[in-house]
Subunit: 407 residues, 2 copies
C-alpha cells in the first residue's frame, strides 16, 4: 500500500478552516455566509492545486472531477456549521477527503481518483440536506423559491445570488461514475470515548421520525378559573410527555433516543391558562420494527390523552425517513484501515445523527467513519477531538479509500 | 332612597366604549394607545357634563372632583384592555361609577359625591398597576424611565409624550378625602353563573405569588447523545411540574389556583437536547397560611429536583403581595343593594384576580362587586355578560354607593 495520508497536513488544514468565522474555540459559518463562501473557494483552490477540475455549483456544493480512467470514489462532507458551533463538524470529513485525494495523486496514481465534494447546507440553515438533495435531483426550483435562512430569513434564492451563483447549473451526481461514497465525521456522542476506542465504523444511519403534537384546551384567567373546570393545554402536554417517559423505555431498542426539543404554549403569559400547547417529539433508531413500535406508542398515547380529556390532542408526522444501511464492503475497508492504524481500537456502530452519506446511499454504496468527540459534545462551540485522534483518522480514511478504490 | 341608576344609559355607554378599538365582539385598547386615549377623553367629557372637574393626569389616570362638602366616594376601574380582549373587563366598573355619579347629581345631592377614576394600565401593558401605583405614590420617576410596552417595546416615557401628557403632574390620592373606594368588575370566572347568582360581594382579593424556576442541564445532540447520559433541562422541568400537580392538591386551600403559563427551553430546536429550561409558576389564595404552605412546597420540590439530578434547579420570587381584605361595611352596603335588586341572588366571594381596589385598600376602606361572566371566559374577545346582569349590576352599584355615602 503506497497511498498514505499526511496527517500533519490534514490537521493544519483543519486549523486553517477554524480561522475562518472563528467563534470562541469553535466557528460560526452558516450556509452561504461570507465566511462559508471563503472556505468553499479555499477548497476549490486546494483541489485545483492537485490537478482536479473543481467548482461551486448553483446551490453551493463544491464539486470536483479527476481525469482518472479507473475507479473513482466520491468523498466528502460539509463545510458550513451550525450557528456558533464546533470546528470539526463537517470540516473534518472534507479535509480527510481532500487529504485522501492528495495521497492518491502523490502516489502517482492517475488511474484511480478521489473526487471531493463539500455538500452545501447539511446543517439545514435553509432546510434539510439542501445540497445533497440537489445532487440527487430531489430538490426542485420551486423548493429553492420557498426556502429561506431559518435565522436571518434571507431567501435561499437571494443567498445564491449574493454568492454570485445565480445561473450556475446545479450538479447532479452520476452514480455510475463511482465505486462508492465515503464520509468521515466526528462521532458527536461519547460512545467511542466511553469504550476507549479511536475509530467507529458506521453500520447504519438512524432514521429520524418526528411529530408535531398539539393540545387544545381553553384559554382563561389564571386567577378566576377554578382548578376543577380548567382545560389547561400545558398540563395536557406535560402529562403526555410524562407518559412518553414511562412507555418509551418499555418499547424502545437498545440505542433508541427520543427528545422533546421544542414546546410552545399560547398565549404564554404567567397569568393566563394556556389554551393551546404544541411540542415536537422526535425519536431515532436504525431498526424499522423499533421505529414502528415507537410510533404505535405515540398513537396509543394520543388516544389515551383524548380519552382522558379535558383537552383535545392531535398529531401529525413532520419527518419520517428510512434508516440508511452502510455498504458492507466499505465497512470492511474501514475495518482493515482501522486494523492498521488503530489496532484493537476500532469498532462498528450506528450513527445517531443524519449525514450526507445517507442521501448518497440512495444512489451508490456508501460508508462512514467516526473519530471520538471529547465528552460527546456536539453542536456547540466547545466541541473538540484530540489532535492524535484527528491525525489517526486521516490515516485510516486514506487507507480505507485506497482499499475501496482497489489500489 | 332617591338615588337610582339609569341602567339603560349605563348599557348604552358600555356599547359606545365597545365601538372604540373593536376587535371581533371584543376590543383591543392597550394602555395609552390611540383608542385608549379616545375613551379617556370621552370619560372626561362625561364627567364635565355633570359638573365634575375632570382631567387626565401625567400617567394617564382619569381623575375627577366634585364640589361636594360632605362624604365622597372614590369609584372606578380601568378603561384599557388586554390585547384583543373583552369589552367589559374594566369598562364595566368605570361606567357603573359614572352612572352612580350621575345618579347622585340627578338626585340633586350636592352635599355628597361620587368621584370617578379610571386607573391607567391596570392590565399591565407597562408593568403592574402603573396608574394606581402612581396614585399611591409608589411609582417613581425612575420606574417610569425603565418601563416599556411589553408588546410593542414603546417606552412609557414616550407613550406619555405621545399622549400629550408630558409635564402634566401625576395625581396623588388624598385618602382623607374619601369615605371609601368602590370598584365593580365582571367576575372573570364561572362561580356566580354556576351557582345561579347575579351579584358577588367581594370579601378579599387574593394574593399572587409567582416564581421563576430555572433548570440547567447540558445542551447536546438529540441523535448522538445516549439517553443514559443526558442532562435534559426540559425533562427536569416537566418532572418538576408533575410533582407540583401531585403535591399542591395535598396542601392547597379550597379556592387555591396555580398555573404554569409560561415555559421556555433553550435552544428550542427539535434536534437539540435543551440545556436550559425556564418556567413561571404562579399561585393565588387569600389566606396567608395557605400561601406559605404552597411556597414551602415549591422550596421542597426544588430541593427534591436538585437531590434527584442530573439537572440543577433554582428559583426566584418574581411576585409576592398580600391578600387585600375588603372593608366590612362596604360589603354590608353591597349586600343591602343586592337584597333590593337581586334578592336571594347575591353572595360573598373572594376575587381570584387582582384589581385596582387592592391598591386603594392600602389607603382607605375598599370594596368590590362582581357580576357574572358567561362561561367564566376572561381575557379573550369572547368575554361577555348578559344585558340583564349588566343593567342589574348598575342598580346594585348605585344603591350601594349611596349607602356608603350615607345618603
Amino acid at each position: 500500500m503506497t497511498i498514505k495520508a499526511n496527517p500533519e497536513r490534514a490537521l493544519r488544514d483543519l486549523y486553517h478552516l477554524r480561522s475562518i468565522g472563528t467563534y470562541k474555540t469553535g466557528v460560526h459559518r452558516p450556509t452561504l455566509s461570507e465566511d462559508d463562501l471563503v472556505t468553499r473557494h479555499w477548497l476549490v483552490d486546494q483541489l485545483k492545486d492537485i490537478g482536479h477540475e473543481a467548482w461551486i455549483d448553483g446551490i453551493g456544493n463544491v464539486i470536483s472531477r479527476t481525469p482518472a480512467t479507473g475507479n473513482k470514489l466520491l468523498a466528502g462532507s460539509h463545510l458550513e456549521t451550525q450557528s456558533h458551533a464546533g470546528w470539526l463538524d463537517g470540516a473534518l470529513g472534507v479535509v480527510y477527503a481532500l487529504e485522501a485525494a492528495r495521497a492518491v495523486v502523490e502516489a502517482g496514481r492517475t488511474d484511480i481518483g478521489v473526487e471531493v465534494f463539500a455538500f452545501a447546507d447539511e446543517e439545514g440553515h435553509f432546510g434539510s440536506f439542501t445540497g445533497s438533495r440537489s445532487l440527487t435531483g430531489e430538490l426542485t426550483e420551486s423548493d429553492i423559491d420557498q426556502r429561506a435562512d431559518r435565522t436571518t430569513g434571507r431567501p435561499l434564492r437571494q443567498a445564491i445570488a449574493d454568492a454570485g451563483l445565480s445561473g450556475v447549473p446545479r450538479h447532479r451526481v452520476e452514480p455510475a461514475r463511482y465505486v462508492g461514497m465515503l464520509e468521515a465525521h466526528i462521532e458527536q456522542g461519547d460512545w467511542l470515548e466511553s469504550q476507549d476506542l479511536h475509530i467507529g465504523v458506521v453500520t447504519s444511519i438512524v432514521a429520524i421520525w418526528q411529530y408535531k403534537i398539539v393540545f387544545e384546551g381553553v384559554q382563561n384567567h389564571a386567577g378566576t378559573t377554578r382548578m376543577a373546570i380548567r382545560k389547561d393545554a400545558g398540563v395536557a402536554l406535560r402529562r403526555f410527555c410524562q407518559r412518553v417517559e414511562e412507555r418509551f423505555p418499555e418499547v424502545c431498542g437498545e440505542r433508541s433516543v427520543w427528545t422533546v426539543g421544542q414546546i410552545s404554549m399560547e398565549p404564554g403569559a404567567p397569568s393566563i391558562i394556556p389554551g393551546r400547547a404544541e411540542m415536537i417529539l422526535q425519536f431515532r433508531d436504525d431498526d424499522m420494527e423499533t421505529l414502528l413500535r415507537l410510533e404505535a406508542t405515540v398513537r396509543e398515547l394520543v388516544a389515551e390523552a383524548n380519552a382522558a380529556g379535558p383537552c383535545k390532542a392531535s398529531w401529525e408526522t413532520t419527518n419520517q425517513n428510512k434508516p440508511a444501511l452502510m455498504d458492507q464492503s466499505i465497512q470492511s475497508a474501514l475495518d482493515a484501515g482501522g486494523a492498521v492504524y488503530a489496532p484493537g481500537k476500532h469498532a462498528r456502530m450506528p450513527s445517531g445523527a443524519g449525514h450526507d452519506a445517507q442521501m448518497m446511499a440512495q444512489l451508490m454504496p456508501a460508508g462512514m467513519m467516526f473519530i471520538p468527540s471529547i465528552g460527546g459534545i456536539s453542536h456547540h462551540w466547545t466541541e473538540d477531538s484530540t489532535d492524535a485522534d484527528i491525525m489517526r483518522g486521516a490515516q485510516v480514511y486514506a487507507d480505507a479509500a485506497a482499499r475501496i478504490l482497489g489500489a
